[in-house]
Symmetry: C2
Subunit: 163 residues, 2 copies
């Protein structure tokens, strides 16, 4: 089956923040998101993988211009959250492939990841939805990544990218 990737979307000037070593028990993720929601911090991507020995990390993205405020806010909550550290990087971009009706993400994800690997672009985080595979990369590689993915999926490298 040939899933069709019909477009590439991207968003530059993002920042990512990772809350290291949170306890894997109910209520912890809620607490962190409540802190952010209370201060009206605009959160885009939220990524959490499966815990190991009762701990895991929570990564999320915010607009670059709220990076400092968010780091400061979470640092003040660190004792309450009992996390090991708050880390981040404010020069990040998100790039996604979009395909309606992808029954399986394996093939398109493999093609996407391979295209980035060819030019040594490192994938920092991955999330998917029914119609998308999104990755975080360093901001400076965004232009190159857009061209690589247009070529890999034989798309017009037009400027009609969805932001």
């Amino acid at each position: 089956e040939n899933p069709v990737v019909s477009a590439i979307s991207f968003s530059r000037h993002e920042a990512r923040i990772t809350v290291r070593k949170i306890h894997d028990k109910p209520g912890i993720a809620a607490k962190i998101l409540q802190i952010l929601a209370k201060k009206a911090i605009e959160v885009d991507m939220i990524v959490q993988s499966v815990s190991q020995q009762d701990f895991t990390d929570l990564t999320f993205t915010v607009p670059e211009n709220s990076y400092n405020q968010t780091i400061t806010l979470l640092n003040t909550m660190q004792t309450q959250l009992k996390t090991a550290a708050i880390e981040g990087d404010h020069k990040i971009a998100k790039i996604s492939i979009i395909g309606i009706g992808m029954r399986s993400h394996a093939g398109v994800a493999a093609t996407m990841f391979e295209a980035l690997a060819l030019k040594n672009i490192n994938i920092q985080a991955i999330t998917t939805s029914e119609i998308k595979v999104s990755v975080l990369i360093e901001d400076k590689y965004l232009e190159l990544a857009i061209r690589l993915l247009h070529a890999a999926f034989k798309l017009e490298n037009s400027q009609n990218n969805i932001q």
Copy 2:
């Protein structure tokens, strides 16, 4: 701004697989997805958080009935992939809140996570897209989670859930 969550979607009988301790360098994620794509394994969710000291984990979901095949396949590739372990759980469900035009995920995610925490439902993994927040939970809590989220977002608990 009051982001509107208009529906809950879910998918039961999923299985999750985590490849532990993969090297955070270009090409590694591509290699894993290529292995799965070659055997036409239907992958739904792919989640990877930010690495620590050069290593990270990769979690993905497959239909429950391909769980054994996928674990066996990855175990045979373990030396080639140089991963620490392949772990999994075949009694998983995915549940998502859907809202068009959510500028920020923080508020709706906090509400979703809090509703699950009230009944002690543990969140195993989190991913988002522009219109969705999705979590993995134990299969046995799916019915309860659907009711909790319908109540939390004041939705009709109708059967028109998008599968």
